[in-house]
Amino acid sequence: MHCKICLQSIEKDTTWSTLFDFRERTLCSSCDEQLEKNQGPTCKKCMKRTEEKLCSDCMFWEQHFQEDPLDRNVSIYTYNEFMKETMARFKYRGDYEIVHAWKDPFQRAFNKYFPKESQLLPIPLAESRFSERGFNQAEALARLLEQPLFAGMIRTGQEKQSKKSKWERLTADNPFKLTETSPETIVIIDDIFTTGSTVRFAAQVLKDAGAKSVSSLTLIRS
């Protein structure tokens, strides 16, 4: 077996705990140690690391939308240096296999926080990015879970997020459109939760179309 991040072979160490553990190991201990879990205290809604109960971002969204379309966000890791390098290889070099490194933590987080009847919506990728990369990283993550995927949303326009200021990002036009009716219970899947604007734009479209519960599971809270 080989580590999905660094390609080193993983030695089979048999201890009492691994003897009864039949999950396939996808990470070596060195890479595993360098990943940092996104732990509390965090905002109860979006898991931003803060002492406050509700962070200033979430407060802003409540004011902006009257009612925040996103019920909650769960994120697994922080965006530390090691994670930045790993994501660069995953997304910009297009090393798809890395996604399998997150399989176990991603499944565990889903089972712990979200209802079984949820459908998954991977955030659609802009077409230019998709053809460069050959895959949508959000969909790659969603495929780690054995849940039905919702394919009824498209991304219009090709805005480049990183060039805009925070304010511009928060108030830009909503880039998402539904092509099918929305399911009732939906979990949005994405790689990184930064300001939450992308996930909330998608959530707004779903709520407007009658979804009852919209939350998100993201790999990283930056």
Partner: protein, 463 residues
């Protein structure tokens, strides 16, 4: 002279579409003309896959990307296969996959102009350097193979000059491949200075330089993965060094990057077994240079056994023998390098001795080396990364924990070779501190004795 404007850029290369950096219409035009040909990136056989860029065959180096996904359905036509296969081993150079082929130039070949006066260098070679230089000229003329086995500090670079001169005058394309970027950075400016009328490209991960039919390419071995049938003369520096030695795909890359008839020159101070055997069997002509350019013998490593050395290091204490050695250097105002086996030891010793340390992942590696060279630091602690190539004129060297696995014979010989490099100060002190005397330690010392004996004999014959 060039039959096609694109030919100088693409002759002898094997590149990805985005590395070609052509507009879609020009790209399609060159394809239909047959000037560019498509090479499938991943060769599939019954028993294995092989990447056609890095030549890996390890199953764990290949990954899959599913194609029947919801996003692909909204943007693409129904894909023919369930997944594409790509190479993870060389993905740092851009992804190659069953969907992303490589391209080679198949159009008119760009000829290199012959350079009448390639060099302004007026230095003189020693008798031994001259012997190696002439052998290399011979190999270039005959398009054959030789091994130049020269001790550290023999003046390797100057030995190449006569051969390079002949090559450029004949319009040959030359590559000097070395395993370390540090060496490219040190070598390139020297060659630029001494061969000013030559087009040259220095290539290593992170440079912006491009090779547009240059006379001379100085590159890390990994950069060869972008070449195919390109060079008339290939000089492989430090053939014994990692990664050339460990990575079987790199010899394949060397073989691919040369033209059908070519000269191949191996340089090393410490040949590995395979080359030694080939040389004994006279399959590989070998030139031995046992003397340094300044004619003084190699410093003989002193052996110093320290009881429980590794326990000391683990507890972060230093045995008396070692602190004594350091104090002696300080008293004599000698600058020194301390080699240690691991990054952890480097860190803890650095704290204890208040001496900066450098290792392969130091972000300020170049800066640290630069400061030591400028004499801003009196001492530097290092892992094996400074074992080769990088030279400092007048230093002493100690290996702390010379019995550790990372210090094989070649590593110890190379490390000892850091001392006594300058003619004004030809005898540096070299000391190996160890608990258990390993075969590598014994052999490294024997190597030095043998080379010094050979050198003495040669000197007698010549005087």
């Amino acid at each position: 002279m060039n039959a096609n404007p694109w030919s100088p850029r693409f002759s002898g290369k094997r590149l990805l579409k985005n590395e070609l950096n052509l507009s879609e219409s020009v790209f399609q035009g060159l394809l239909t003309k047959g000037y560019l040909i498509e090479i499938p990136s991943i060769k599939e056989t019954l028993f294995y896959l092989e990447c056609q860029r890095c030549h890996t065959r390890k199953p764990s180096h290949f990954g899959k990307i599913p194609t029947k996904t919801i996003q692909s359905f909204s943007y693409q036509n129904r894909p023919a296969t369930n997944s594409i296969t790509y190479c993870r081993n060389c993905i740092q150079m851009g992804r190659v996959s069953t969907n992303e082929p490589l391209y080679e130039w198949n159009g008119p070949i760009a000829n290199l102009p012959k350079v009448k006066q390639p060099s302004i260098w007026r230095g003189e070679l020693t008798a031994l350097q001259s012997k190696a230089a002439d052998a290399m000229v011979e190999a270039i003329r005959n398009q054959s193979k030789i091994l130049i086995h020269a001790v550290c500090g023999a003046g390797k670079t100057e030995m190449l000059y006569r051969g390079l001169w002949i090559a450029f005058r004949n319009g040959f394309r030359v590559c000097i491949a070395t395993p370390r970027a540090d060496v490219v950075r040190e070598l390139a400016p020297r060659l630029r200075r001494d061969f000013p009328s030559i087009e040259m490209a220095a290539l290593y991960g992170g440079t912006q330089e491009t090779d547009i039919n240059a006379h001379l390419v100085v590159a890390t071995t990994h950069q060869l993965l972008r070449y195919s049938k390109s060079f008339d003369v290939m000089i492989v520096d430090e053939v014994d060094a990692f990664p050339y030695h460990h990575d079987k795909s790199l010899p394949k890359a060397v073989a691919r990057s040369v033209k059908e008839s070519h000269a191949l020159i191996y340089l090393t101070a410490t040949p590995r077994l395979d080359l030694k055997i080939a040389s004994r069997l006279k399959q590989l002509q070998t030139i031995s240079i046992p003397l340094r350019y300044h004619g003084h013998p190699l410093p003989l490593p002193k052996l110093s056994q320290v009881f429980k050395l590794h326990q000391h290091l683990q507890q972060g204490t230093l045995p008396k023998k070692i602190t004594h050695w350091i104090d002696q250097r300080k008293a004599a105002q000698r600058r020194f390098l301390l080699f240690v086996p691991t990054i952890e030891t480097a860190q803890s010793l650095s704290k204890k001795l208040d001496i900066p340390y450098v290792h392969s992942e130091s972000s300020n590696r170049e800066e640290l080396i630069h400061h030591f060279r400028n004499q801003q630091y009196e001492a530097l602690i290092t892992t094996t990364i400074l074992e080769r190539g990088v030279t400092f004129p007048s230093i002493d060297v100690a290996v702390i924990g010379a019995d550790h696995d990372v210090f094989d014979e070649a590593a110890l010989v190379q490390i000892a070779g850091r001392a006594g490099r300058s003619a004004d100060d030809p005898d540096g002190d070299v000391t190996f501190f160890y608990n258990v005397k390993t075969k590598a330690i014994v052999k490294a010392r024997q190597y030095t004795e043998l080379k010094n004996l050979e050198g003495k004999k040669f000197k007698k014959e010549f005087n």
